[in-house]
């Protein structure tokens, strides 16, 4: 394999790795530092007093913790529903052909592209008419709309020709829908399902537009709390909220890394 740039000696490589790790974790470390103290007046780089103020408030079941739990419940529910819907829809897409399929694919791409805030502005009235505005279920519906489109995009990759052959085999041996799901769908969808659930959960966890528009402030998630704290300019509390928002990014990054990195090795094996 041709080598370019800095990939020579080992020490240099280790230096690069450490520098990169520090760079990538800098936001988390900075937020942790800010959240450990009280105040942050101008020329100082550290908080005025390092007394762990925001953390003490967190332990006494405050709004922040409740918002985190609401957000977690929301993203868990959104992930499960979107993945299930996405799985079913992607199987329908697979058995249709021609214009119908291309049209459905384009329609499914649209939520992927449209900004949640624009969708929220339009969908608020619909939610209000069916009595879901300002409720947990309403926000969940909004997240499932975006999540399902993402899930279809992720899960469409699960259907290889091998999966098709396996399914044909099960069917020609007399298997019904249940047998097809057990012996052909499940073994192939397993891996992508995990990535899909993670991605849709993150989508819901990070969302601010839908929660603001459809939830109308009555469904408090961390993103909403963070923006409120920024507006109040309580830097330390906001730093803690941001840190909590960043927590799931660590395991998510690990799964994505296991799934998507090492492209060059795989290509060589082909």
């Amino acid at each position: 394999m041709a080598k370019h740039g800095g990939l020579d000696g080992k020490p240099r490589r280790r230096g690069w790795q450490t520098a990169a790790l520090l760079c990538m974790l800098a936001p988390q470390l900075f937020l942790l530092l800010l959240s450990l103290g009280t105040g942050w007046s101008y020329p100082g780089l550290l908080p005025d007093r390092l007394d762990g103020g925001p953390w003490q408030l967190l332990s006494a079941f405050s709004g922040l913790l409740r918002a985190a739990l609401t957000g977690a419940a929301l993203s868990l529910a959104a992930a499960v529903l979107s993945t299930l819907f996405g799985l079913l829809i992607s199987r329908v897409l697979r058995s249709s052909r021609g214009l119908k399929r291309r049209l459905s694919e384009a329609l499914l791409l649209l939520p992927f592209v449209v900004s949640p805030i624009v969708a929220g502005v339009c969908l608020f009235d619909l939610a209000a008419r069916v009595g879901l505005a300002g409720s947990f279920t309403g926000v969940l519906c909004g997240h499932v709309f975006f999540g399902t489109a993402t899930a279809v995009a992720v899960l469409s990759q699960a259907w290889s020709d091998q999966a098709t052959r396996q399914e044909l085999l099960v069917r020609s041996l007399g298997g019904g829908t249940l047998a097809v799901w057990r012996h052909a769908v499940w073994p192939h969808a397993q891996g992508p399902l995990l990535v899909c659930m993670l991605q849709t959960a993150l989508l819901s966890w990070m969302d601010y537009g839908i929660v603001l528009q459809i939830g109308g402030g009555r469904v408090q998630t961390l993103t909403l709390r963070l923006f409120a704290l920024i507006r109040e300019s309580s830097v330390n509390q906001a730093a803690l909220a941001a840190l909590l928002l960043l927590l799931p990014s660590l395991p998510a990054a690990m799964v994505f890394a296991a799934k998507y990195t090492g492209g060059s090795d795989r290509a060589l094996k082909k």
């Binding site: 370019h4 101008y42 829809i89 939520p111 592209v113 709309f145 098709t164 069917r171 601010y208 928002l245």
Partner: protein, 306 residues
Amino acid sequence: MRLNGGWKTKLRSGFGAVGGERALGCLLLLLVILLPLLWMVGYAFLCSLGNFGLQGTGWTLDHWSLALTGSRVWRSLLLSSTLAVASTFLAWQSAVWLVSRRGGLRTDRWLQAMWCLPVAIPPVVQAFLANLCLNRGGLLSRICWQLGLTNAVTDFPVLVQDRFSIGLLLTMTAASIPLLVLFLIRIWGVARIDDYLLTARALGASPDFALRKVAVPMLRRRSRSVLLLVLIWNFSAWELPLLLGRQSPRMFSVLIQQSAGQFVLDERPQAFVCVLLYLVLAAAAVGGLSAVAGNFGRRLQESDHG
């Protein structure tokens, strides 16, 4: 290995969802995706014509003419597209530089894994972090003071809510780089660019020439769909400009949200004119995406057969 085309067509009804499963899937497609989309388009259309929603007054084209003749909408469209194009271009250049000039990134899984970390940072946190760093009283300004480069807060340039949206541009660029880097690394492996570079070198090209004339064009061709996606995401960015952008002109998403629901209710129908303009742009992007993806798929098939 792929199935024989004729066989596949003959057994078309034999795989994928059939019967009740298919009906369930179609129903879900209708309820979860199609219904909200149709509602969005129909609602925005009727509201922009003044005949629906909270304060419907009867059919009128006034809102369209007001929105399209005033400078507010056009200025914000111009700002959004300029920032989207500029940030996507800068992010692309940086990602190409990182992937092609830093060979360690392509071979070291540990380094690649670390690039997954910033991908999962929510836009709200990106905005907050950028505000903390670039603000006049923020981290960068403090570091400059500690190093003796500035003597007061006012010596530091205005980078947040500034006239030229520099802070916003920097943040949007930085936020787009990790995704592009990960994608380019993947393409580099899948397209076997290393082999092509080796061939070019064997034919006498210098390393730099080979990178510029072989690797970069290959990367560009294969990443058109992702670039289009990043472009439209940057165009519709909302959380970042909400905190870092100026109030006039506003980014397009901010304009839509604020005129749809804040302060002046008279502007509400005009917001839906903007929503329709935005949806047309998004649909064009989707069309572009499927065209690019279609071509890409066909090319892959051809290369498989060849």
